[in-house]
């Protein structure tokens, strides 16, 4: 296949992934809708541990079956979309001459990052019982994919010299994986906060309905968020504090430059360290910890989007502008 053909394939795969993601989203929305019942006809059964009984409406068997079918369908469609998504990445990489990793610019980074969000969700789906997250994850990935296609698209081009390094490859891979996981964790923490707020506003004796009734308990959400963050944090540490500096040392002679990209990666790291602390600190558990998790995601995405656009040439890492070829302007103090 020619490079142009690979590039076309990649573009078509992105389109296909978008469409299938959308179908998957519809399937999951239908799943939720089919479980909704007119008020009053609900029977209630207690699930959960004694004392802290969580009460959920018990739908009829036929409805449950339909919902289960739709849920499985949604999952399957998500898998298909993820495969198309991955094909689009392979296409980008193969279209480069020489072949290369698919993250030479913001479009590719976004494409890869959002793919990782999906993959991570699929991998953890069973283990952490993430089915409740489906509409949120799909909505997020779909939005990001569309934004990337509309605003960030760039034709395939070779990597600049400084970006052409094994360490960089490992560094960016780890950073993207961590970004995907932190994003998932952020979604869980956001739902935690929304549910907490909704619960606190309920009148005495009333119960949550709809989506919030079906997500896990606050404790469960907190634990899911923690476990995803606990996976992401060491990966981020590896990306930002090990491979990043090794690469920086090779490329620019300094392993830590305090350039804006590094500063924000460090800020993200410290905020998440704060999150992990907060979960073990009296008075910070729960709500404040979840807020810190959201702050962490905000710094993460700000680093990727904001710093690229606003710091421009200020940052040696900038993908938004021409990459860091070795050129001036020089700091010549001679």
């Amino acid at each position: 296949m020619s490079n142009a053909a690979w590039e076309t394939l990649s573009n078509q795969a992105v389109g296909a992934a978008g469409i299938v993601y959308f179908l998957a989203l519809l399937a999951h929305l239908a799943e939720w809708a089919s479980l909704r019942q007119p008020k009053g006809t609900e029977k209630r059964v207690a699930v959960g541990s004694a004392g802290l009984a969580e009460v959920a409406p018990a739908p009829t068997t036929r409805e449950t079956e339909r919902a289960e079918f739709l849920g499985r369908l949604g999952f399957l469609l998500t898998v298909i979309a993820a495969v198309a998504h991955a094909v689009s990445l392979v296409g980008r990489g193969m279209a480069g001459d020489p072949n290369r990793v698919p993250w030479g610019n913001m479009y590719e980074f976004t494409l890869t990052g959002s793919c990782l969000v999906t993959v991570m969700y699929l991998v953890l789906y069973r283990r952490l019982r993430l089915s409740w997250m489906a509409p949120l994850v799909l909505g997020f990935v779909l939005t990001v994919l569309m934004a990337a296609r509309l605003w960030l698209y760039e034709p395939v081009a070779p990597l600049t010299e400084a970006l052409n390094s094994y360490w960089l490859m490992i560094h960016v891979t780890a950073a993207i994986i961590a970004t995907g996981a932190f994003t998932l964790g952020g979604i869980a923490s956001a739902v935690y906060l929304v549910k907490m707020r909704a619960q606190s506003r309920l009148p005495e004796g009333a119960e949550l309905t709809g989506f919030l009734a079906r997500v896990p308990t606050l404790d469960g959400l907190d634990r899911v968020a923690y476990r995803v963050h606990a996976f992401a944090f060491p990966v981020w540490t590896f990306a930002v504090l090990i491979t990043g500096p090794i690469w920086a040392h090779q490329a620019w002679s300094r392993y830590w430059n305090w350039d804006p990209k590094e500063v924000w990666a460090f800020i993200t790291w410290v905020v998440y360290a704060g999150y992990l602390h907060a979960r073990a600190t009296a008075g910070w558990k729960g709500r404040n910890a979840a807020l810190l998790a959201l702050l962490g995601v905000a710094t993460l995405w700000w680093n990727f989007i904001g710093v690229n656009f606003f710091a421009g040439n200020n940052s040696q890492h900038s993908y938004a502008d021409r990459p860091p070829a070795v050129v001036g302007p020089y700091d010549v103090r001679g």
Binding site: G48, S49, A50, A157, P158, T160, E161, A162, S165, R223, A230, F231, F233, P234, T237, L241, I242, P245, I246, W247, H249, Q250, A251, W252, S253, R254, Y255, N257, W258, D259, P260, V263, I267, V270, V271, A273, G274, L276, H277, A280, T281, A282, G283, W284, L292, T299, V307, A311, N314, R322, A325, V326, V327, G328, P329, Y330, D331, V332, R333, G334
Partner: protein
């Protein structure tokens, strides 16, 4: 307290005050607040240009904001990461860390020697527990529990009349956590050593050529650097002797496609000698492939063009001959430079202007259309008179001092512009002499640095990562199995004469252990017979 009867309540002695402060400082909450402060404190340095990162940007910023500059300078906002207030945050954090970790080390050492704790009185009060009845002997159940649990838990030695088995696992979690926090200190130590003893210098080196056989050489002494940025405790004898020559430099330019004009590869062929008389060795210096000589690393970080000119003065004598490095202004490699012919007679000659790697005139404007030197041209203004070359003061080689100089004009009174291509010779007006453009040489900018402590810092982060994984992924657990004979209540057979209770405690509070409970119960029951579930408190 009793020794100070006249003290009013609420008053603290200095010692109590100290202890209180220490306890506050080393509390988890303070650590958290300091961490968040550290994150917050790092923000300004990403927005305001930093002199350690880009001093050019700093001076530009200062020119643009004259009124804010003094305030910012007072707050050290141009060097945030060396500032007093930023240092204060992380030093407090380090202090808090030490105060937190050292006591925990002792606690941990003691806990290492302790036995898994005895079973609590009421196991079924624990959140994750289960019970069942069986007709087996309590002792038989306990013996099997020991067998089942011994595979995955460290057991408390059995004592007469215990009636329970206690096990524990995952104490490495705390070890990992301690290792992580200690490693943070190691990283900081490595980082600090680098900041104090390291140095970083840059030098522009014009490639060696037939026209300029003396070009391209560098030997590692202070005077050879264009700029040099040492740490606070650097001493010049850290500069290990070596020398090298840039023999050839090439750029692999992308010629077509969307990114035409982008460079794909840079390659400087250098010959180097270690010490003063080492054997000559060769190295291809490329981006991402530094050359290490002893503790010193040599990096290729920039390149540009050096036009080779010969200036003859009014008497026909050569007043200047050789290459001069011009500084690229942007990605197009349009470059700016000056040439000074000090010995020219009757007047000194100074040239200032632009170098176009691939010169074209588009719509009457001179431009460069490609960064490679395919069709080079120079366009320079000429000055004569006093160029300030003889007053002994240091001068930048990239700046022409025009204060006392006069610009050379054409006969019609307009400025004379020297437009010249390689191979041409142009006569200057007023019998000042002539300029010959002999050719173009590339130059490279090389960064030379020592980063002592970098291996320490690297080892520190690697250890930190290992500790972190232990801390986050090891699941510390305690497990208890109790078996005791029970009487049938009021003569009703409730399922068996022995009550077995199982409880598991996840000490990190982050993991569900209901499955663990279920698993243990199954294993205990698997070989027993005739048992019935009593009560279960598993989380769904």
């Amino acid at each position: 307290m009793t020794q100070a009867p006249e003290r009013r309540s609420g008053e603290l002695t200095a010692r109590e005050m100290l202890r209180w402060t220490w306890r506050q400082l080393t509390s988890m909450r303070t650590a958290l607040v300091l961490l968040l402060l550290l994150a917050l404190g790092a923000v300004p340095g990403s927005i305001i240009p930093q002199s350690g990162v880009d001093s050019l940007a700093v001076s530009r910023w200062k020119d643009a904001h004259p009124s804010l500059t003094p305030v910012y300078e007072k707050l050290d906002l141009f060097s945030v990461y060396d500032s007093v207030w930023f240092s204060a945050i992380y030093l407090l954090l380090v202090l808090s860390l030490v105060g937190c970790i050292v006591p925990r080390l002792f606690v941990y050492a003691k806990a290492m020697r302790a036995l898994p704790p005895a079973a609590p009185r009421n196991l079924t009060r624990l959140p994750d527990s289960a019970g069942y009845r069986t007709d087996e002997d309590a002792d038989a159940v306990l013996a099997r529990a020991r067998e089942v649990l011994a595979k995955r838990y460290r057991l408390r030695p059995a004592a007469e009349g215990d009636g329970f088995v206690a096990g524990e696992r995952g104490r490495l979690r705390e070890a990992g956590n301690l290792l992580f926090h200690l490693s943070v200190l190691i990283v900081l130590a490595g980082f600090g050593v680098g900041a104090l003893y390291g140095f970083e210098g840059g030098v522009v080196i014009i490639q060696q050529s037939k026209q300029c056989p003396d070009c391209g050489t560098f030997s590692n002494t202070l005077s050879q650097y264009d700029d040099f940025d040492p740490g606070g405790l650097f001493t010049p004898d850290q500069l290990n002797p070596f020398s090298f020559t840039v023999q050839d430099f090439g750029v692999d330019w992308l010629k077509s496609g969307d990114r035409a004009g982008q460079a794909r590869g840079f390659d400087a062929k250098i010959a180097y000698r270690q010490g003063t008389d080492g054997a000559e060795q060769h190295y291809d210096l490329k981006v991402n492939h530094p050359l290490s000589i002893g503790d010193t690393d040599v990096f290729l970080i920039g390149h540009g063009y050096a036009p080779v000119l010969t200036i003859r003065d009014g008497h026909g004598d050569v007043a200047w001959s050789g290459p001069t490095a011009f500084l690229p202004q942007d990605q197009s490699f349009l470059s700016f430079g000056v040439i000074k012919a000090r010995t020219a007679k009757p007047g000194e000659i100074g040239l200032e202007g632009l170098f176009y790697p691939t010169f074209e005139v588009i719509d009457g404007n001179p431009v460069t259309v490609f960064p490679e030197d395919l069709k080079p041209a120079l366009s320079m203004l000429v000055y004569t008179g006093d160029l300030g070359l003889d007053d002994g003061s240091a001068q930048s080689v990239y700046v022409l001092d025009k204060d006392n100089a006069t610009q050379v004009m054409k006969a019609d009174g307009r400025p004379f512009r020297l437009d010249i291509e390689p191979g041409q010779t142009v006569k200057l007006p007023d019998g000042l002499g002539s300029v010959t453009f002999d050719g173009v040489q590339p130059w490279v900018r090389v960064q030379i640095s020592q980063s002592p402590g970098k291996d320490v810092a690297l080892a520190g982060v690697v250890l930190a990562l290992i500790g972190l994984c232990g801390s986050l992924f090891v699941r510390p657990r305690r497990v208890w199995v109790r078996a005791r004979p029970v009487d049938d209540e009021d003569g009703v057979d409730t399922g068996g004469r022995t009550l077995v209770e199982v409880a598991v405690l996840d000490r990190s509070g982050n993991h569900e252990v209901d499955e663990v409970v279920r698993d243990i119960v199954e294993q205990l029951q698997g070989q027993g017979q005739d048992s019935s579930p009593e009560h279960s408190q598993e989380h769904a």
